[in-house]
Each structure stands twice: as structure tokens, then as C-alpha cells.
Amino acid sequence: MMTIRRRVLVASTATAIASLAIASIAIYLLVRASMVAEFDAGLAARAQVLAALVEFDDESGEYEFHAPDASADDVAYQIRSQQGRVIASQGDAPLLAALAVAIPQSPHAQARQMANGRRIRVLAMAGHVKLEGEHHAAADHQDLVVEVVHDTRLLDRDLWRLALVLIGVASGISIASGLALSVALKAALRPLARLATDIAALDGKSLDRRIDGSMAPGELLPIVGRLNDLLARIENDVRKEKSFNAAIAHELRTPLGGLRSTLEVNLGREGNAVDYRQALLTCHGICLDMNVMVERLLMLSKAEAGQILAALADTDLAAIARDCWNEAREKARLRAARIEGSWSEPVVAHSDPALVRIVLSNLVDNALSHGAEGGVIKIEVAARGDSAIVRMGNAAPGLTAEQATHAFDRFWRADQARTQTGEHYGLGMALCRDLIAILGGTITAGCEAGWFQVEMVLPRRSST
């Protein structure tokens, strides 16, 4: 795995090496050009000197050349007249052989390589011999061609040394900068390692801990901040989940206790068929109640996970409200509840009839179960602008406005002591809230002067 440290190190070192290489090459080329120019200037100067050593004997019509005393084995020259006659030549024979090839006249020398691989530079330049005497005007002269060849061994050696020095220096600088960068990166990334250690130390039991960002560099502070925010959210969610799980366990204890006691008591006694049938009916009833609870929990879970999709269509809320009330007639009779419904006209919402039915059925059941016995339940279905509204109210003696704000909390009951244990688990209203949210609506509950009212608002038209 490529670490940040390695990436930065490789990229930085590569950049440094490339920069140094380019700089070294540039320096080399500049110095080389300078040295070659100097070398060539030396050749040109030598050629001029050689030309100056040529004299023309006006009487004999011959050239005279006063060869310099000193000679070197790495240089050769040849002086020719304009007609191509060799006036003078000196030097190493192989070098002189190189002059056999025509050399264009130029103030600049040319680099060549001899057959044996020897590198040379040659220069051919025009010169002239001034004709002096009474027969000649001041400007009279004879043209010459001076050709000089110089072995570049020393020049090449110096240039090679220069290249080696530059390569050495560049390599040294690269290695040193790489090492320095490595150390600097290690130090710079230490807070990251510390952060990783802190994060690794976190587990389910230490979610209340937070990452200490006081020593972190500025670049890491946003990460530390977001991380701590994330931890806070996780802690909150885990706490909620634990609380929810505890609530489920708690709620299951009562029916489970009833189930177990009923079974154990009846298993431990000699009863008759009627007794056992009664016990079985009791157990069956408990199982059905627990089934309702589990189904609601599953639906809540699906709603929260976004697994319930609304099949939107024209939905007559008034008709569904009437249906839900009719289905609850028997319970209403037992509770001696009366209905006052304002639902004669169709009120069509753009909603999911099945989900709306679940919500209204829960609300009716809630009103019947928790409303005052013998009381009235008012259901009003109406349209207002783009909204379809259902209001359901019932007398709720003893319920306070503050208590009503918890109506949609899971497992919450108005009577904290307990009301209708085993039948109502405090999940219906929470389910209503989640389903209405899926339908794009809102649901609110409030209590004023002992009158509990739920208002549900759904869109009448498609939002698209």
C-alpha cells in the first residue's frame, strides 16, 4: 500500500532529482559551450599567429614561413596559399591527415572524429600576407588559408570531469534532500499516527471519549472535529438503540411472564379439558398481542430504514376514516364511545391508501383505548388549499400538554404507571409518525384542557 509519506517522498525526491538534473545539464551545457568557445578562440588565435608568421618574398615570389619554436603533439596546422599550395605544415601526421578533408572557412571550429575515434576540432580561416615595398600599395596582400586541428582530449577530459562533478553534486543533493524530507515527513505525520492510535483505542464501551485535537496541526483539526462529531452521533445512536432494545426487552417481559406463568401453573396441576383450553386460549391471546408488537416493531424498523415505499394514488381520506371507524365499532361499543364524524364529502389526497389506512386505524384504536370511557371521539376530514387534513380528538382526562409532546415517542404511555398492559406497547403513534413522513405529510399531537387532538396533513397533489 502506498502511504502518504511514501507518495510525498517519492514525488518530492523525483521533483528534486529532475530539477537538479535539468540544472546540472544546463550548467554543463553552458560551461561546455563556454569552454568550447574558449577552445575555438585559442585555435583562431593560433591560426592568426600562424598567418602572421608568413611572409611573401616579392623578388622570388615565394612565401616564407617562420615556424614557431614551440610545438605540441596535440595540435597540427597547415597553411595554404589561395591556390592551394601548402606553404607550411607541422604536427602529428594523423592530425595532419585530418586536414586532407576540405574544411569550410569559418570563424568557428568544427568537431570531428577521426577513424581511430580520436576527437578533434578543426578550424579553417582566411589570412593574408601584406605585400610591402615600393611596388605595392598599402592595401596589397596575398590571401592565405590557415587550417588548424587540435586534439580535444584535454577539453573532453575537463568536460567529463565537470559532468562527473555535476552528477555527484546533484546526486548528493538529491539523497540529502530525500533524507531530510523523509525525516521532516515522519515528524509532520506523527500527529496522524497519534490520531490513528487514538481512534484504534475507541471501542463500543468508550464512545463517550473524544479525540484530543489540542496537539494536532491545523490541517488535522477539521478531521478531528468531524471525527468527534461522528463519535457524538454514533454514541447517541448507540444509546438510542440500547435504550430501544432495553425497552423492547422490558415490554416483552410482561407478556412473556404471563405466558410462562400460565403454562407452568397449568403444567403443574391436574386440570380438566376446560381448564387446559382456557389456558391455551390465554396463551394464544398473549401470542397474538406479542405478534402485534413484533409486527409494529418490524414496520417501524422498515420505515426508519426506508424500506417502505409509498404507492401513491388518489386516496379518499374520508372514506378510509369511515372504514376504520366501522372496523372499530365493537371496541367502541365496549368503551361506550360515541363518534362525531365530519367526513361526508370525499377528501382526496395524493397518497398511499394502504399506509393511510394503517395510520388512521392506529389513531382510531388509540383514541378508543386511551380516551375517556363513554366519551366522544371527533374525526374531521377536510381539504385546505393543497392539503388534506384529518383531525382526530378525544377527551383525555389527566393528560397534560407536556405529556402530549411525547405522544410519538416509542414505548411512551400517557399513564407512566401502565395502561392496558400487554395490549398497547406505545408503538402505534411512533409508527404513524414514520408512515406519514414517508407519505410526505406531517402529523402533530397536542392536548389542551383535557382534549387530546392529533392532526395529520397530507398533500392533495403530487409534488412533481
Partner: protein, 224 residues
Amino acid sequence: MRALIVEDYAPQRAALTLGLKDAGWAVDASGDGNEGLWFARSHPYDLIVLDLMLPGLDGFSILETLRAEGRTTPVLILTAKDAVADRVRGLDLGADDYLVKPFAFDEFLARVRALSRRGSQDTSAIVQVEDLRIDTASRKVRRGDDDIDLSAREYALLLYLARRAGQLVTRQDIWEHTYDFASDTNSNVVDVYIGYLRRKIERDGAKRLIHTKRGHGYLLGGDG
């Protein structure tokens, strides 16, 4: 022995009532906190089985009220609340035991027996009066080498007398501690059951164990 069950979950209440009656208890039951308190105040129960989460009035409040009024009836809290804080609160308010739902019914009965022994001389599940031996755990009664088969009510009556062996027990006491509110209100019923008991434990010329103190009540054991 007479118990009060205050439990709002009907199936649990029914199972407790049935199980305790089978164990020889007279049982009154209520599913409401206020009604439960009324029961507890109106009768000298030998045991109160109390749920905590009740409609009307919660179990803690009932317990607190009873203890504040000086009522020392043993109270067994039976609840789904399992938090240490709830247990501590319940016991500190004066509960004698605390059992979390769901529970094994045998354990519940064992705790009930343990609580019912408090205040008596019994230290085990066996109650012995002369050659009469009552195993309260198995609900078996023997006199000498003979097993005696008793109905639930006969057993309850005998156990009540045995726990007070050597003491005069009035009909009123017997009525209050062995019959629930739903029982036959025939004032003669105690005498009738004493008769049943005598026929079973004093048969074949066995030594008389239940002595009648005319105008006062009954006495189990001794020479009368």
C-alpha cells in the same frame, strides 16, 4: 393463608391466582393500583404480590402508603423492571422480596413460602405438629405413617392452624386468612371445614389434634 395480588396484566394475574390457590392460598386479585390499595387496607393479608407498573396508582406508591400506615404484611414485588435502582427503591420502601418477570413459577412459590414463614417459628418448608407433618413445598400432609389427601381449602385451613399450633385461633381469624372475597359467605363454612379436616386427620381413633374452644375458636396440638 390469604394473599393479595395486584397485577394489571390479566393473564399474569390469572396465572398467579390459580397457582396460589392450588398451593392452598386464598387469593384476592386486582388489576388497578387504587383498588389494590383499598384491598390491602381493608384486610389483614398474609402476603401481597405487587406489580409496579399499574394503572391508577403505581406499586411503589402503594407500598410506601402501606408501610407509612404501619402495615407489615410481607410484600413481594413482581415486575418487569429489572434495573438495580428499581430493586433498591422497592426494597428500601419496605418490600420483602423482588422478583423480575418472567420468572419460574416454582421459584415464585418458594419465595412465597419463605415469606409466609416469616413471623412464625418455622425455618424450613416442613411444619410439624406432634405426629402431623406438613411439607409446604410439595403440599403433602402425613400423620404418623399415613398420607392424608386434602383439598386446597382443607390444606389452607390446616396450614393456618399448624402455623399457630398451641394458640387459640378464632373463626374470624380463620375466615380472614383462608377465604377470599369471592368465597362462600356462609358463616358456618369454617366449622364445616374443621369437620372435614377432623375426619381426615383424626380417623381410626387417632389422637385428637384439633380442639374446639366453644365460643372462641380452635386450637391445633396439645391436649386442648
